[in-house]
Symmetry: C2
Subunit: 393 residues, 2 copies
């Protein structure tokens, strides 16, 4: 059919989301002081958290402002005394990372007569920050967003960089948007409130940052495995605080150059292609994200070695360091045991990789390494991938 063509050119979408202010706080977390200070002229806020975070002692004064006692129920929505701000408390954990949870945030904001000027404030781990930012991005086609990451993982990774979303069916983060928060409030001492397993999960992203961007950080992690069990010790406080700042700076530098993952942001997926597939195949929520990534980094090291990209020594050094933090590095992750033969498991994981949203074709791309701070993105043959997943065992 014949046609004539006209071109419309737009300004950037969402000019309000073109920068993020990241605030690093000192001392004990005090959400009330951090979030509820300010004048009466503040825009309306929709605070979103989960039952775990809302039960933390440091949250008591904050939740009391909403008339909410300790252990408030999930999905309870309480009007603040001012009648303007509201607090939404969701169920905690990956199983609640659903479109239904996101829509419950939207519905609460709508009930409170929320506008595009309303600020959605997510207080929690990556599940809460991803969903709160997603809700903000679709509410009336885009409201405003601030995040208060309370886990190590969300401080160093999830909150920074504008990725939002929720799971869909059995697939992680299949729907979402790129919608950077306007402010991120980082209070490192929140990590003292974490269960050990979540703290360990967050450390995996710290290790990833070290492998990708910082040999000195890798050396420190290698020589201080004591931080795994010593986050309460004053000797480790400066190291942990420095780790968080290094990770935030390195991630910021990447997303400033490539917010929407067309190029170098893909480096941040080191360990994630394997890790996400493991998380999906084990059943969402069975393997913590960071633990999946740690295992994925071990698999990426083996694949790098197998493809002749790095030496056996480098692959062994990476895996030894991961094991010193008690992460699984073997070809078949224990969470997959009982799910068929070694070959079956390898093929199941490879199948999930092919559905990963970062793959633009049927080939699967991997982030692999020649050494610390020397990273390549490459496709790999199915046979090599299956081999490092233990199919030949």
């Amino acid at each position: 059919m014949n046609y004539e063509e006209k071109i419309i050119e737009y300004p950037p979408v969402h000019p309000g989301t073109d920068r993020t202010f990241i605030r690093f706080y000192e001392g004990e977390p005090n959400p009330k002081a951090m979030l509820l200070g300010g004048c009466d002229e503040m825009p309306q806020r929709v605070f979103v958290t989960d039952t775990t975070v809302s039960s933390l002692p440091c949250m008591d004064e904050f939740t009391a402002e909403f008339g909410t006692g300790k252990g408030a129920a999930a999905n309870s929505v309480h009007k603040r005394r001012s009648g303007k701000d509201i607090l939404v408390i969701l169920g905690a954990g990956e199983p609640f990372k659903t479109i239904e949870s996101v829509l419950s945030i939207v519905a609460a904001a709508l009930d409170a007569n929320g506008q595009r000027s309303t600020v959605f404030v997510g207080i929690g781990g990556g599940v809460i920050t991803d969903m709160t930012a997603f809700a903000a991005s679709i509410f009336k086609r885009g409201a405003r967003c601030e995040l208060v990451p309370t886990t190590l993982l969300s401080m160093v990774d999830a909150a920074v960089g504008g990725k939002t979303g929720c799971d869909f069916g059995s697939y992680k983060n299949m729907i979402g948007s790129f919608f950077p928060a306007q402010k991120i409030h980082i209070c490192p001492e929140f990590i003292k409130t974490l269960p050990q397993s979540e703290y360990r999960s967050g450390l995996a992203e710290v290790v990833k940052t070290a492998l990708l961007f910082s040999a000195p950080l890798f050396d420190k992690l290698e020589s201080n495995p004591g931080i795994l069990d010593g986050r309460g010790k004053s000797e480790f406080a400066p190291l942990i605080s420095e780790m968080i700042r290094t990770c935030v700076s390195e991630k910021a530098s990447v997303v400033e150059q490539d917010l929407t993952e067309k190029g170098m942001r893909m480096l941040l997926n080191l360990g994630h292609t394997f890790g996400h597939a493991l998380e999906t195949c084990a059943g969402l929520g069975k393997v913590a994200h960071g633990d999946g990534v740690a295992w994925g980094m071990a698999r990426a090291a083996d694949l790098s070695e197998r493809l002749g990209l790095c030496t056996k020594e480098y692959a062994e050094r990476v895996k030894r360091m991961l094991r010193s933090y008690t992460w699984e590095t073997s070809e078949i992750h224990p969470a997959m045991e009982g799910k068929g033969s070694a070959g079956d498991i390898a093929r199941t994981i490879f199948g999930a990789m092919k559905k990963d949203k970062k793959n633009s074709s049927s080939k699967v791309r991997f982030v692999l390494q020649r050494g610390v701070c020397d990273t390549v993105i490459t496709e790999a043959d199915e046979g090599d991938v299956l081999a490092v997943l233990g199919a030949e065992r």
Copy 2:
């Protein structure tokens, strides 16, 4: 609490959505030629349409490519012979403009192993184009989008300008995003397939464009009311084609300057504040969008006169023209009769206006006119609004 601050600055979100190619086609619509030509190396496409459009004779050759017969059922998803492209057929009309419909598009794309490079192609009226573009915007945080508007309303308004979304509960377009299509295919002869009521609804947006931007178009509409019943007549074909191009050009010019409705794009809401409130209060789907807007333009004319912005003559001229196209211009729309006293109805509609997503505070802003091409955005007192809604009758 003390803090230090760091700022991250991002490039524009979604660089791929920074321009739209609009193609104007001549002659009878031929979706197969328009959409299924091209080489095997085309990216995967997820075509989305509804039961009404898929039943049009001009769609037969297109749907046959997917093995789909006439009158295929809603939500049926058929693989194309190539095994790559798919066709999703949704139920037709506003009641299907739900998050469930959007998620069914996402699920179909996921089942077909869709990637970020997958192109979501919406073929239909505003309901289909809005939902298809919304699904594209949230699929894996942003895939690609093309639109084929088949109604006059979607050609002149809905498809152009990047607004996407669906209804939520009883509120129109409460969730969505700004996500411009990469291509829009406009084939004016599609309008011959429309029911008369939908054609009339689309004409209302043409009238709006005339009032806002084009005195010559207003004159032509005023002197050719015969186009309401004469779209099949060859004498009107050039006028209708010109109308569509004028509307697309004027809208393009506005959204190029203000995609996200921070400024002059708000002008496009002439008649919409009243119209959307009527649509919501009458029950979604009861009053066609354009008919609501036409009634809203009559209310805006009366409010403009009441506030001393325009003369009685201008308000009467606008309403006379609207009536010549058989639109309702009286204070109380017939769709609201039986819903309480005149005062009750006026207050119900005013309440719905306050929830409109374009209002950033509790005040309601209106797009009003001093005359053709002389438009102002202003707040109005509740008393004046209720008066032009017939509360004093």
